[in-house]
């Protein structure tokens, strides 16, 4: 190796180091992209698949579920149990009990696909953690819907009276689900 190539090598190598340092400095002056997780959370993307949940009809503040049982049949893991009653003055049945065994659910989404009345969807709930297995083996979706409906009623005071006369509560179903505290909250 001649002296001139050696010098050119060293100078070229040194220049490449400076290029690298320019790149890191360029990154350093750009804004930080970290989300400070416990303090800030990201909005879940539309296609995020959490456990299924009952849809709250924004017009009635109730579930659209007619307890037809198609989701029970479609479920390959056999993790849905539901029950419904026919109320006075209503054409269709309404759901009283909807229990999801999330320990078996593989989030395949067959139930969501098969539902004729769009009554179930994926929740955006990702904080699913608990010390109690029961919280997931018997997830009471009706009770969770009730919690949502509670908030809905606050934002729809005129209808509140109307809703109160025909409550969607199912005391018998809640008796079993009463011991299950809602594991995890929706992302703030």
């Amino acid at each position: 190796m001649s002296l001139s190539t050696a010098i050119r090598d060293v100078a070229g190598g040194f220049k490449s180091l400076l290029v690298g340092m320019r790149i890191t400095l360029g990154q350093a002056i750009k804004p930080s992209i970290t989300v400070q997780y416990p303090h800030q959370t990201l909005k879940m993307p539309a296609r995020f698949r959490g456990h299924v949940k009952l849809v709250l009809d924004p017009e009635t503040g109730k579930s659209r579920c007619t307890a037809c049982g198609l989701c029970v049949k479609a479920c390959p893991s056999d993790c849905i149990e539901l029950d419904g009653i026919k109320r006075e003055g209503e054409k269709k049945k309404s759901v009283t009990e909807y229990e999801l065994d999330f320990t078996k659910c593989s989030l395949c989404g067959s139930c969501v696909d098969v539902c004729p009345s769009d009554a179930i969807e994926y929740s955006k709930d990702y904080n699913v953690v608990s010390l109690n297995r029961e919280d997931f083996s018997h997830m009471d979706l009706v009770k969770r819907l009730e919690a949502e409906a509670e908030i809905w009623r606050k934002h729809h005071p005129p209808q509140a009276a109307a809703v109160a006369t025909t409550p969607v509560t199912a005391p018998a179903a809640l008796a079993t689900g009463a011991k299950t505290p809602s594991p995890g909250q929706k992302a703030p």
Binding site: V10, G20, T24, L25, Q27, A28, K30, P31, S32, I33
Partner: protein, 334 residues
Amino acid sequence: MSFLTLEPIRLLLYLVGVCAFVGANAAYLVLAERKGAGRIQRRPGPNEAGYAGLLQPVADGIKLLAKQIMVPPGTDALLFRAAPLMVMAPSLMCLAVIPFGANLVARDLNIGLLLVFSFGSINVMALMLGGWASRNKFAIISSARVVSQNVAYEIPMLLVVITMLMVTGTMNLNEIIHQQAGWFWNWNVFKVWVNPLMPVTFVIFFICMLAETNRAPFDMAEAESELVAGAFTEYGGMGFGVFFMAEYANIVVGCCLATILFLGGWQSPFGALSGVLGPLWFLLKMYALIFTVIWIRWTFPRTQFYSLLNLSWKILIPLSLFTLVLTGVMIKII
């Protein structure tokens, strides 16, 4: 005033001042390092302890202090305990001759430069002893690396220093700074009429300083991906903490020295305002260099050991020898 100029009082003040300066720097440079790493990787770095993470060093310190210092069985207990002290003490002593301002120097020795380098070389021995006393294979490998690395890089560094000695003609650090008075082109790094390769000399010095302080990309001593924690593997609690602080103290000393030798120390860049504002200029230049050190660490991956030695023996030593000879010739001619 007369009270403050009493010799024992003056020395006590400087002792406390130097200890406080090193302690504060070691603690907060760790934070600066982590913050710098965060910025370069586009994350905020530690920001939970105190406002923007400013209490993080305190939290780290309390954690380290609260831990028991274990001396593992089979180690050389005396050397094991002495090594952290031997790493820390020399860097504290070096600061005794560093002039932070025209009159702000603990001891204005006429062989200050020599003192810094002689104490600086103790650092190597302490790391080697720490690794040796640990009775740990990783620590031993690390010790061997530290020694060969520091021997390799001491040579170009000292060659550069000899070049600077030929240019300045004095070992008194304050005198060296006085010679660089005036505008910034009087700083040694820009004195191309003395030696056209002066900026290169500065770069060599800086690279050697990185290697001597075992900083990335030359951190072969504690290459955590290969050697667990290198020479510090068996150390826990404040034993480890002192090693860690010593690393930063050494960086401070190294950057001080680079500032003094090449960047005009406490001289202002415009030839004015260097009297009262001297320490400010000094710290500004020093922290700019320290920032570069951090910046380099988070830019480049660790080198191989062979490339490390190749860089020294094949490039830096010939280059520094060449600048030495060139400077000699230039001085003779001019």
